[in-house]
Amino acid sequence: MAASTKTQHREPDIRLIHNVRFRAWVIQALVLVLLLTAAGYAVYNTGKNLQKAGVTTGFGFLEESAGFDIGLTLIQYSRNSTYFRAFLVGILNTLLVSALSIILSTLLGFTLGVLRLSPNWLVSRMAAVYTEIIRNIPLLLQILFWYLAILAPLPGPRQALELLTGFFLCNRGLIMPQPVPEPGFYFTLTALLVALVFCILLWRWNRRRQKQTGRVLPVYRLSFLILIGLPLAIHFVAGSPLQWEMPALKGFNFQGGMTLLPELIALWLAISLYAATFIGEFVRSGILAVHKGQMEAAQALGYRPFLAYRLIIIPQAMRVVTPPLISQYLTIVKNSSLAVVIGYPDLVHVFAGTALNQSGQAVEIIAMTMAVYLVVSLIISLFMNWFNQKYVLKGG
């Protein structure tokens, strides 16, 4: 073969195995077959294992009565309620602690971010030290620390610390007076609603008038007055139809009032303090991402620092801050599942914990639990896409 190489021209190798498209199809078919086999094997084994354990598959169990109590219920629930009801209670409790944590961590986080950028040396260093300490310690450890090391050793109800009149802190949680609305209270609520609508209309009108004539009303002060004044006035005219039910010590525990469970307080504080460090970093990097020239231009135009921040810097910074902020909110919702270690009755604790152990419907329950989190994250990512299309700079 080596002898006749003069004008030998090599035939191109056109065997099927060198065809890229053919190869792609073979590989995909192989992967598909492998996956299906594995899934089929798993389903087969699961069916057999469940049969042996005497568990009937399907979602019929949701109609059965759950038979366990839940410490915190936002909707009507008793031990005779169905598993589906328990599922709803779990979702609502998860959403409750997530919403509380999102509000508190946003407030703390924005404060932290601004403090870190403050020209005040001491304060910015303190914010930096706080951030570096808190975000390098596992969240679970912080939750347990608040729950077991701070809240659990508090005195019992009889020696409860009275923070303000009617506010008691003890190892049963934070006990507060509970508002009890009487029939006339709906007037106050209606007034609040009317005031809110009126304020929004006022803002729009003011915006239009400013564009046309350049004159402005002090809308912030006005709407503040309206929002507080109108409902209060109606409230007193209607004869103060709101009673406060004061907690009182009876026997070994408090009667009346409402209670923030220690589990809720620990979870809320730990998640908020932890998430605030991340939000603070987003805010800081967002403000730093706005070009220096923007501030200088604002100053050259004679804006005072506050107005320059409100009208020039913050709107541009928010464009950078919002996407990571939203995904941090999603992380908060997911982190609320750590509730399971301290027994706060969230979705994972109530449903994937207690309900699973009682009914044995592992597959259905885990799937439903994951589906809830998936739906939440789907909604949030849809919102993100909408936001990106609307606010992120076009072109570039």
Partner: protein, 473 residues
């Protein structure tokens, strides 16, 4: 005409509020009324928090003694401080969990091996010569030999010196002429040899393991030209070290007592979970990211579905799934170690996150890099491993490290499914009736350990970021 001598007036001193200590104080702390208020609030906060903490943790704390009595004695005198005696007494438990006491040297040995396999890579910026690194490793071999005897010493010689030796030997040039049909079988010879020797001295399982690993580790000899010692170090760290660690820690071969995984615990278990998670999630993440950018619809769909589902659910639910559903998926007679379930859960979970970060890096690479590789006629995998992935990884170091940091922090979640990691063992120790009431000490101790680990990782990542910083603009 007399020349007028112009003598400048001596310059006035700078205003007192512009220079020196006062200037600094004025500028940084009291430049306006608002700033002064902030400073005062800051000082008050510091006075509220720092002195009481130091008083509790250092001044009033009890350090001496070995039982609760010494703490109670101090507490009886008045304001009680921290009782570090509790941590001191339980220290070994926090480090090793319930790993049997006579066997704990095995954990130490594994730690030292990891340290000396990793140090030359970590410190490659500081120790610049190959000789320096080898001297460092020689120190490691000496240390291990002195402390643990000749057996571990021999292992250390193999683990630490082989990269240096292998970098100076390659069989590729000898076999190159004869092509793949000779290279492939030849690559299996060393593995088969090790297997044979193993069969004579050890049981068949261990021999099979060793032979397989030997084949994997030594096969590059037949395909690569000369690889640098650094590359061999990575190969040993990622392939040889895990195998060695597996046998040393679990035992059941080489005359080591078998130690069940439910006895593993403490900081040791935390490091095992974190290390395995990091080592497994990075390659898995790379594959997932490549799959997501693949042009094959089936593979793309599978990868996208996996990544998006995992990223949408909390780690706790993944761990629950791993601990409740994995056993259901398998036939009943197959048991599935609890630790292994947690490891699989954590690795898969973080692989999805790492994949998204790496996808960002892949997208940020200029198209010219792909085209250049294609123009050279390179195939897909060669292009990816040699051109694309190294550059993409370099771009996303910060993102990857952020994920690894949260992996280290999330190792604490294995306590949810009943494993005794550092946090789990600390919680268990607090339940000991003899030591009730020392919750704060235990948690502060665990927090400090975690903080040291996480803070050093984040600082090291900043160093890496500076070292590999590139810009395509």
């Amino acid at each position: 005409m007399t020349p007028v001598q112009w003598t400048p007036k001596p310059s006035q001193p700078a205003p007192p509020l512009e220079t020196g200590v006062w200037g600094w104080l004025y500028k940084n702390l009291f430049s306006s009324l608002f700033n002064s208020v902030l400073t005062v609030i800051g000082i008050i906060v510091i006075f509220w928090t720092v002195p009481p903490f130091i008083e509790w943790a250092v001044v009033d704390a009890s350090w001496m003694g070995d039982s609760r009595v010494s703490c109670d004695k101090l507490a009886a005198q008045g304001d009680p401080g921290a009782c570090w005696v509790f941590v001191k007494v339980r220290f070994e438990l926090f480090l090793y969990g319930f790993y049997p006491e006579p066997e704990r040297w095995r954990v130490n040995l594994t730690g030292l091996l990891l340290l000396f396999s990793g140090l030359p890579i970590l410190l490659s910026g500081m120790i610049r010569t190959e000789q320096g690194r080898t001297i460092l490793q020689a120190a490691g071999v000496l240390l291990i030999g002195l402390f643990f005897g000749w057996g571990p010493g021999a292992l250390a010689v193999f683990m630490l010196f082989s990269p240096f030796v292998l970098s100076r030997s390659s069989l590729k040039s000898v076999l190159d002429e004869r092509g793949l049909s000779v290279q492939l079988p030849a690559a299996l010879i060393p593995g088969a040899g090790i297997y044979g020797i193993g069969l004579v001295f050890l049981d068949s399982d261990a021999a099979l393991w060793l032979g397989g690993m030997g084949a994997v580790i030594l096969s590059p000899l037949f395909f690569w030209g000369k690889a640098s010692a650094m590359i061999w170090r990575w190969v040993f760290l990622l392939l040889a070290f895990p195998t060695a660690a597996f046998f040393i820690l679990l035992g059941g071969a080489f005359g080591l007592v078998y130690v069940e995984t439910h006895l593993w615990g403490g900081l040791f278990l935390t490091l095992v979970v974190a290390g395995t998670g990091i080592a497994a999630s990075l390659p898995l993440g790379i594959l997932l990211a490549l799959g997501r950018r693949s042009e094959m619809p089936v593979i793309k769909t599978v990868c996208i579905t996996f990544i998006e589902i995992i990223r949408g659910v909390p780690l706790v639910s993944v761990l629950f799934m791993a601990s409740v559903m994995f056993p259901l998926f398998l036939p009943e007679n197959v048991s599935f170690d609890k630790l292994l379930r947690a490891l699989v859960g954590i690795s898969l979970f973080y692989a999805a996150y790492v994949a998204e970060v790496i996808r960002g890096g892949l997208q940020a690479l200029p198209k010219g890099q792909y085209e250049a590789a294609a123009a050279l006629g390179w195939g897909y995998w060669k292009m990816m491993w040699i051109i694309i992935i190294p550059q993409a990884l370099r771009l996303v170091i910060p993102g990857i490290v952020v994920n690894f940091l949260s992996l280290v922090k999330d190792t604490t979640l294995v306590a949810v499914i009943g494993l005794m990691d550092l946090l789990g063992i600390v919680k268990a120790a607090m339940a000991d009736p003899e030591w009730i009431g020392y919750t704060k000490e235990a948690y502060v101790f665990a927090a400090v350990l975690f903080w040291i680990i996480c803070f050093s990782i984040s600082r090291y990542s900043m160093h890496l970021e500076r070292k590999y910083h590139v810009s395509f603009r």
